[in-house]
Symmetry: C2
Subunit: 368 residues, 2 copies
């Protein structure tokens, strides 16, 4: 199996300013051409677009805008998990020998209707993500005695990290009190516990081992991949466990031949504050019930190991771009390019992404 490297990456400014989906896709693509040495349009074998947008034929459209005439071009959608699905697809084109260079580009508009799963009788009237977010929160509180203050630390930490991320949608500082006093949306969730849908785009250039060095002196290798879909509807036995994430993590650790304690830096999908706690536990980065303590310590010691760019809560959540922005951040961290956000001596990085109450998850392990 041919090894696959991240040879280039870019993330545009996340914002609430309206921009057409084509422009968002083109902006991230243009940055890849500006950031990556020796890259030429004719080198690109495949263009994969990650989005939940309802516009069709976006991969040929962004190809034409950028002057690329690829062999393979199509859109990939799996709600919030689209970007990481597109990366795994790009990985397979390269590792099978069908392509040497794959451009994966993702984008979303804040008001895109595809952000809420409208199929699923099990969710009843409660289709908006905030309802599964609040059910997860109730369950975590009950099982692990998690407090509102514990949750507030997740939000405050992510917002603090986002201040050093020049492309985050929000660079305001929020204290624990600010979070706890923010508007209550449900019994258990306040507005600052939630990630914010926004406009944004991100792109990742994947290259085979054969050609990666042409485009970068510091390739970052995708060494572990795990994916799992457990269902589409919100039918769970244990509301304190994200089964698809723990399954995907086992696969990824096994493929990369690492244990969770070896991870130096991780981007995880904090759709709601409770998700960050559950994910840290299900990735076995910490023990069950210990994540709140870990987050509190990270806040107090300024430890940026988890979500250095500010996660979804701090930097914003343009669905189709999120997975790619996570990968861009880890690639940046592992090559020492994260300036104020830099985690020292980061050698092994992890990405965890998921959709729709973690009914599906992707976990990637990357190494310098």
């Amino acid at each position: 199996m041919m090894r696959v490297a991240v040879a280039g990456y870019s993330t545009t400014k996340f914002s609430l300013d309206h921009s057409p989906i084509e422009n968002l896709l083109f902006s991230a693509t243009k940055q890849i051409f500006q950031n990556t040495k020796n890259i030429s349009q004719k080198d690109i074998d495949a263009v994969l677009v990650s989005t939940n947008d309802t516009k069709r034929y976006l991969a040929p459209i962004v190809s034409e805008l950028a002057g690329i005439t690829p062999k393979i071009s199509h859109s990939i959608e799996s709600m919030c998990n689209s970007g990481t699905n597109a990366i795994v697809s790009g990985f397979s084109y390269i590792s099978s020998g069908m392509a040497d260079v794959v451009l994966v580009v993702g984008a979303e508009q804040a008001e895109n209707p595809g952000q809420v799963l409208d199929w699923d009788a099990s969710r009843g009237e409660f289709q908006h993500p905030i309802f599964w977010g609040t059910m997860f929160t109730k369950a975590h509180k009950r099982k692990h005695r998690t407090t509102d203050e514990d949750l507030a630390y997740v939000s405050a930490l992510n917002h603090k990290n986002a201040q050093d991320n020049p492309v985050s949608y929000n660079s305001k500082k929020y204290t624990i009190e600010d979070v706890m006093n923010s508007k209550k949306l449900t019994d258990d969730l306040r507005v600052l516990d939630c990630s914010r849908s926004c406009y944004g785009s991100s792109a990742v250039l994947l290259a085979s081992e054969k050609v990666a060095k042409k485009y970068t002196d510091t390739p970052v290798w995708i060494e572990g991949i795990g994916q799992k879909t457990t269902s589409a509807s919100f039918t769970k036995n244990d509301l304190t466990r994200l089964d698809s994430t723990s399954d995907a993590a086992s696969q990824a650790y096994s493929m990369a031949k690492i244990t969770p304690d070896q991870i130096d830096v991780a981007e995880i999908h904090d759709a709601f504050s409770v998700c960050e706690l559950m994910i840290l536990e299900d990735l076995e980065i910490t023990q069950k019930g210990q994540a709140a303590k870990m987050v509190r310590e990270s806040y107090q010691t300024n430890n940026k190991k988890i979500n250095p760019r500010g996660g979804l809560i701090g930097s914003g959540h343009p669905l189709g771009a999120t997975g790619l922005a996570q990968i861009s951040e880890i690639a940046s961290q592992l090559t020492g390019n994260s300036s104020k956000r830099q985690v020292e001596n980061a050698r092994i990085g992890l990405i965890q992404n998921m959709s729709a109450a973690a009914t599906s998850s992707t976990v990637l392990v990357m190494r310098q």
Copy 2:
């Protein structure tokens, strides 16, 4: 590179009867389970959905409906060329060793708005496919002295073949006169020159060489793959050439190590009657300007080599299902399962699919 086989296939009845997209996807999937020996839900590593529908998360949804919990699940869209893109993606997951069994399932609803490309200033007011269809027709008439009667033979032949296809949407017989007297839509195209958007679904089960024999005694191998995107907009130098198709064909012939004269049976994308002529020429199945003569002879001699199931004009065109229905037909032909439609001694089959005025194309070569 691991070899990849079609180990199962199904196509549901194409019709104009409304059916929810989830039901269409589930119907084709259910048929795969009914038609394929030893197949079990737990064997399926990936579920790829091909559709232009605007509903999200359809791959996890159809997985849940069918009791599958795959590793990989997402939707793939590239307009009419979606199904064949999804097959090439499934091929790459298997040939890279990341999966052994991939279910690809496609469906469309007749009134889905995603059937018309609404980006593209070069098309001006003429965004509906019929306008590029008519421009192609004018150019072919001018260059090759193609007549309205030549075009009518394409439609009559496809409708004749569709009569032996139990899942075609239309089983009426049309004479040359019927076609020529059908309603004129543009200067050059009549209603019976056009393929018909409809409801329908189709599924293909791909399996690695390692496991294919568990599911079928007669695997059909995907031996040649070619894909090309030249643009998204209707910007062409020569309106009598489908550049993406000829480029994809060269790649596929070279990978499969065949010449076009070795093809025994082919499914090609006759969106409009003129497309069938252009494709036969660009695939080099016949010489430039000779396709009309070939079609006329096929009609007179009852030769079913081209579009034995009736093509898009005869059997209907549910966008996301079309590429998979083409592959199902070729798999059926190469295993001698096409009853009245059977082409004798068919050993090598070809699929040509394309999107949006052939701005992108896929060509596959399959062998028993």
